[in-house]
């Protein structure tokens, strides 16, 4: 009996050896704040990874492991350490909130690559050479959407169903507001935060309140907005999406979504790692590099609106329009002390 077991063990060991010798797939692990079906932030990145996997030749060439709903950053660190111990080549922390944890793991595993976003810090200050950062200039596409929204609204009232005032959600809101105000200076923008990313019911309630207050066009970011889109559909208004193409479910309500295309960034990142450079690059999705794209639904848009959208896009790419990431740089009036950067005199004196 023992001998038979020994033989089995030997065969098992041999077969493992043979398999690992045949192919060593590139192994990517990702820690996500929400789910891969969130129609926004996490799904855009997960599907980006899947597209890269397909381009590389399927699961034999690239493995993807993921952990969802990592609200707890300490648990996220544990997940990253587990992935590092299991020998993953690239570990992605898909959220600004994971920064401190990711840096501590990256310092302990210098031979493994790490990436995180929304961020621009690649850990140079800590002497790290194995960290990539990525971000989306969400305000650029948002501006164009704001232009279209301002031209579509009949009531002149537009609602923003926002998660928290931080990260790319804030960039998106700020860009959207600038686009609206540039096109329709007297537009009334109703902004409310839910205080989280997964507050589906709260987001629905905010949308219904904005509709009650006269809004006929809504926008918003993160996975919680699905109920809000449904609410504006019922009210026969329009929705503007971001992070992922949200028109699939509501083609006649979602006018356009600013979709994130992570594929070029991820492809370059993996190429860089395979070439021996484990970090140091900041990837930014912009309209110019086509990391930000527009996914249109089935809403009929007039030629004037299409032309205005194309013009705004071209102007942002050419630099004629500079969309500010911080609204304080755009509207100095409401602030108690006007921001010094906006007036040439102040700039000269500083």
């Amino acid at each position: 009996m023992k001998r038979i077991l020994l033989v089995f063990l030997l065969i098992a060991l041999l077969s493992v050896d043979v398999v690992s010798a045949q192919s060593t797939p590139f192994k990517v692990a990702i820690v996500l704040p929400s789910t891969i079906t969130d129609l926004s932030w996490s799904q855009s990145m997960y599907e980006g990874l899947q597209a890269v996997q397909k381009a590389m030749g399927g699961e034999s060439a690239m493995e993807i492991a993921y952990t969802e709903n990592m609200f707890d950053v300490t648990a996220a660190e544990q997940a990253m350490r587990d992935y590092a111990d299991e020998g993953y080549n690239l570990i992605i922390a898909h959220g600004t909130q994971y920064g401190a944890q990711m840096f501590s793991v990256a310092a302990d595993y210098p031979s493994i690559s790490f990436a995180w976003g929304t961020a621009t810090d690649v850990g140079e200050a800590q002497g790290l050479k194995n960290v990539f950062a990525y971000q989306a200039d969400a305000e650029q596409g948002a501006y164009v959407e704001g232009v279209i929204a301002a031209m579509l609204t009949k009531s002149g009232t537009i609602g923003i169903v926002a998660p928290i005032p931080a990260g790319d959600a804030l960039l998106y809101n700020n860009g959207f507001e600038q686009g609206v105000i540039a096109t329709k200076p007297d537009a009334n923008i109703l902004l409310a935060y839910t205080g989280g990313f997964g507050m589906t019911t709260e987001a629905t309630q905010i949308a219904q309140t904005q509709i009650a207050a006269g809004a006929d066009v809504l926008t918003g970011s993160s996975q919680q907005v699905v109920g809000a889109i449904d609410a504006i559909q019922t009210a026969r208004g329009y929705w503007f999406g971001t992070q992922y193409d949200q028109s699939g479910q509501w083609p006649n309500t979602v006018v356009v979504s600013e979709a994130y295309d992570w594929v070029p960034s991820l492809t370059d990142m993996i190429k860089s790692i395979q070439g021996g450079t484990l970090g140091g690059t900041v990837y930014t999705l912009t309209l110019e590099n086509k990391g930000l794209t527009f996914a249109y639904g089935k809403v009929e848009l007039s030629d004037a609106i299409k032309a205005a959208a194309d013009q705004a896009t071209a102007d942002i790419i050419s630099g004629k329009i500079v969309v500010k990431q911080d609204l304080a740089e755009v509207t100095p009036e409401p602030a108690l002390n006007s921001t010094p950067e906006t007036t040439p005199e102040a700039t000269a004196s500083s």
Binding site: G196, T201, E202, T209
Partner: protein, 318 residues
């Protein structure tokens, strides 16, 4: 907009979004009155929410909302039955096992959502539609409340007097209260403690399932993973808040809901104090702070708390 206009618009949404809390909390009142703490409400709501919308959605089984509601009630009831087996028969620690049911319901609803729906599903035309009540809907300010609610909102509020009557005026209600206060005494009087607790925990599950349906096929009406985002736990808190009385639980649900709706209005109207906008994070906290504050000041709470709450019953031991 002046305050009157805001209130006219805010009141209907206050009642609409109070209804899921009310369903879940009214069920939990009965559960706790019989001496069982069910912290699995959240999971049961999620399962109810998913099953209801999957039954009615065009991409699901494409049935009428009533069938969806029954499915939610059935699933909630089954989870209630399982909770009763664990907490009443097997006498497991109720707080922990309840959390277990919440985790189970959260996970299973997400799994089923992915396997069966594959992505966000909308109830579409099969959601419960708004009903306009004649005469009442013509009243000033409050008239709006009666012009855009779905049937589940009316049922939730109609249940308050009905369940108060059941609890205080019927034989079954007396048995529930007796089992919750002194199960040994109730047992010696010939009350079947186990049967009463099974009945209330299953009833609590049914109500939690309906609470989920009142979101997914009525108020929201969509399903997204973990869409309740803690509503089940707020419902449990409302039971303490309302001192185990259906009427006070209703007041608590309305207070929480109106505070939440008014903070949304404060945000979208950019209400300012002393020339500066109020930080949105502070506004979002208002309903929660209000709930905690009332809990702290509601002193008579201790006197009415069911004496046998969370204590399993073992004949001859209590």
């Amino acid at each position: 907009m002046n305050f009157g206009e805001v209130l006219t618009q805010a009141l209907p949404l206050t009642f609409l979004f109070a209804s899921p809390f009310l369903f879940a909390a009214l069920g939990e009142v009965f559960v706790q009155r019989s001496g069982v703490l069910n912290l699995g409400v959240e999971g049961m709501m999620l399962m109810g929410a998913f099953c209801a919308i999957y039954v009615v959605a065009p991409h699901g089984l494409n049935q009428s909302p009533l069938v969806g509601l029954l499915a939610a009630a059935l699933v909630g009831g089954l989870m209630g039955l399982a909770m009763a087996v664990v907490s009443v028969t097997l006498q497991a620690e109720q707080g922990i096992s309840g959390i277990g049911f919440t985790l189970f319901g959260t996970g299973l609803s997400s799994l089923l959502f992915r396997l069966l729906a594959g992505g966000v599903i909308s109830a579409g035309d099969h959601a419960f539609q708004s009903i306009k009540v004649p005469v009442l809907s013509g009243l000033p300010i409050i008239g709006n409340i009666f012009s855009q609610q779905n049937i589940l909102v009316y049922i939730a509020f109609a249940l308050v007097p009905i369940l108060t009557w059941v609890l205080n005026r019927t034989r079954w209600g007396l048995q529930i209260r007796a089992v919750g206060q002194n199960p040994a005494a109730a047992d010696s009087m010939g009350v079947n403690v186990v049967a009463v607790r099974y009945a209330t925990v299953i009833f609590g599950g049914v109500m939690a399932g309906i609470a989920g349906a009142s979101l997914s096929i009525a108020a929201t009406p969509i399903f997204q993973e973990n869409m309740t985002a803690g509503a089940g736990f707020i419902a449990v808190a409302l039971v303490y808040f309302g001192a185990w009385s259906p009427f006070r639980v209703m007041l608590g649900a309305l207070l929480f809901s109106v505070a939440n709706n008014l903070q949304i209005w404060a945000q979208i109207l950019n209400v300012q104090i002393g020339g500066a906008a109020i930080n949105s994070n502070l506004l979002i906290m208002v309903p929660y702070i209000l709930t905690i504050a009332v809990l702290v000041f509601a002193r008579q709470r201790k006197r009415v708390e069911p004496a046998a709450l969370t204590r399993p019953f073992q004949r001859g031991e209590n």
